[in-house]
Symmetry: C3
Subunit: 173 residues, 3 copies
Amino acid sequence: MSSPTYNNNNNNSNSNNGSQLANMELLTLDNPVFCCYLFWATVLVAKMLLMSLLTALQRFRYKVFPNEEDLFFKNIEVQFDDPHVERVRRAHRNDMENILPYFIMALIYVCTNPNPLVACNLFRVAAIARIVHTLVYAVYPVPQPSRILAFATMMLITFYMAAVVALRTLRFI
Amino acid sequence: MSSPTYNNNNNNSNSNNGSQLANMELLTLDNPVFCCYLFWATVLVAKMLLMSLLTALQRFRYKVFPNEEDLFFKNIEVQFDDPHVERVRRAHRNDMENILPYFIMALIYVCTNPNPLVACNLFRVAAIARIVHTLVYAVYPVPQPSRILAFATMMLITFYMAAVVALRTLRFI
Amino acid sequence: MSSPTYNNNNNNSNSNNGSQLANMELLTLDNPVFCCYLFWATVLVAKMLLMSLLTALQRFRYKVFPNEEDLFFKNIEVQFDDPHVERVRRAHRNDMENILPYFIMALIYVCTNPNPLVACNLFRVAAIARIVHTLVYAVYPVPQPSRILAFATMMLITFYMAAVVALRTLRFI
């Protein structure tokens, strides 16, 4: 009974009658758009955590550790400039710069009751683009512009969501 | 019909009758405080994404790239210590350190049904302070304490929200 | 009147009757699980902000500043490789890498209406593990594996929440 409610209210979500009910249900598992956000946000959280493990893997592989207490092998010293480790760390930092703001932006985009088809496909494309970004940056470096395209995809999606939310809430400036 | 509900319930939001209704509506577009949060969070998300573009701009301007596959010009090598690029990156990192926790803190502060006037003005001041922070740090460096003041403004606001939420939820420790 | 509703609906939260009501109340102060999340998320936000102050403290203590305009003492130059400052910065970056995704992951985990006892204890353990992580990393370095254990605790909790949410929302892929 919940799904049709969204589709009906979608075209006139600014109307007074009915919008109150629809809005209240937006951040629940009854809202398929929110469920889609939940799934792909979860995928991206898991992907980000795997970056930490990938960094640790590279550290053990090349025996590069940044702290005195981490020197698990004999006759090594702290080191900060190994290119293999730094590459994964740059990819991880890029994730934080882009995915973490996206989490908030997409969540509040869901609160504006967007078109389900548009919203779900944006979530899918954004998540897959960032997985591709990680693959071509940290796992197996390939020539540009592959990384730039993957980077730009989520950035443009986040800007689109920002534009939608800003226009809807402009009078509360 | 929804706005007056907040104002009436604001002073006695802990009361049992009526609080259930008010709480349920907090994270919807019917709540002006939430709309104000949405708008200014969106502004800050856009500002953070622009930092990535500003970093890219500086990289192309000074021909400083951190990866082999990014060497778009001839006869240059990977470089990590350019002061112009590093300044923008430090500003961007400072954004992540402060704005990203603020997003979560402000969102859960909205859930405690705060005074609308106080909450909206906190959102406005915090967002403008961080825009000033970026201007005086990354765009056009000016002498201290301008940056410290801009930095401290959002930090104090976040601590204030943390105190409000912690006091309201202390019995769930 | 709200608490028993959660306990009753917990085992059959996918059923159609009643689940709509329960879901709507999840992100409100009527939900003790959400309140517990609010409290411990607030603790972690405050902890993260204190890392900024700890970095500033180390900078003044060892007179190490990264920007020209920050040289508050005479006869010093910008410096980036002080081990005391960099240690706190690494701990802070590790916080961002782990706590910020956890904030989103735990929030959407609350939306799946988890068992209150399990959820609340996960929030408590995760927050305390990260406080321990900061103490053994940035405040008073102790030998491994203390830091690895503290790090792994929150990471495993986040992966567990990710698995729960992904399984619940898998059909919205």
